[in-house]
């Protein structure tokens, strides 16, 4: 059973996703969903050696809502900078974020969050995977950007995953 379904949650997610895609409940869709839910985890198992552990799924849901809210706020901030700030007053800066997270899934999620939220884009990771390179559109004080990312997002992800 474990060999046929190395990632049971991934299989269930794929089955649910297939039903959302076809948007109707039919027995044929169920057969297709089960085929996909079996084959895709098997084919991609080499890249998922360990099962990602989500310790607090409800906190993860709360995190997603927080990020969606921040994405909306981010849009207003970036729009204001793009429209009204004189070009020579935009202080773009690189910011290094030292990582306390170790799980690859958590780091990917943090990197994605940074890209989607206020004026920051994840640009690279250090070769050892313990620091992220972030480009900030307007950051007169790079240290404040680093502290906010660490306290607002990384601390929450650490509680969810580790």
């Amino acid at each position: 059973m474990k060999r046929l379904f190395p990632h049971p949650y991934l299989s269930l997610t794929l089955i649910a996703l297939w039903f959302l895609l076809v948007n109707q409940l039919k027995i044929g869709s169920l057969v297709m969903a089960i085929i996909l839910g079996t084959v895709i985890p098997l084919v991609t198992a080499a890249w998922w050696p360990n099962r990602p552990r989500v310790r607090h799924p409800f906190r993860l849901a709360a995190y997603v809502i927080l990020v969606l809210w921040d994405v909306i706020v981010a849009n207003f901030q970036v729009a204001r900078i793009v429209l009204f700030m004189p070009r020579d007053r935009i202080r773009s800066n690189w910011v290094t974020i030292p990582l306390d997270l170790t799980s690859p899934e958590a780091i990917s999620l943090l990197a994605g969050t940074i890209t989607m939220t206020p004026g920051t884009v994840t640009s690279d990771i250090s070769a050892c995977g313990r620091a992220l390179l972030v480009h900030s559109l307007h950051a007169p004080d790079p240290g404040a950007v680093r502290d906010e990312i660490k306290s607002r997002y990384e601390a929450r992800l650490k509680r969810i995953f580790e």
Partner: protein, 122 residues
């Protein structure tokens, strides 16, 4: 004023707002001077533009008594893929030396992955 008309007006307002954000995203691409800065405008302003269109699509169907989950799926795929394309654009800029110079030190004793000596063959 009927409920249907009020809903239509409300949805139109969201659509126009979303369209304005998408426009700002494209305008940012023109106005910002440096390549790394230009990366910011489309990764964000367009998310709300597309997001607004999706919310309107779902609510409009809901107003006609139908439930559609596909808008939720599109949102999910958008949130999963947008950061990846932005990351690869940034890595390309860094590798080609077109990003802002003077990258900070990673502080871990190892270089940034894009500039590390041992890269797998492309």
């Amino acid at each position: 004023m009927t409920f249907a008309l009020a809903l239509d007006l409300f949805l139109s307002a969201i659509l126009i707002g979303g369209g304005l954000f998408a426009l700002v995203g494209s305008y940012g691409l023109l106005r910002l001077p440096r390549p790394m800065q230009r990366l910011h405008a489309p990764t964000k302003a367009t998310t709300v533009g597309v997001g607004a269109a999706l919310v309107v699509s779902a609510l409009d169907l809901a107003g006609q008594g139908q439930v559609s989950w596909q808008e939720g799926l599109i949102t999910l795929f958008l949130l999963l893929t947008a950061p990846i394309s932005a990351l690869f654009l940034a890595k390309t800029l860094i590798l080609r030396g077109e990003a802002d110079p003077n990258l900070p030190d990673p502080g871990t004793g190892q270089p940034w992955a894009t500039l590390a000596e041992e890269r797998p063959d492309p």
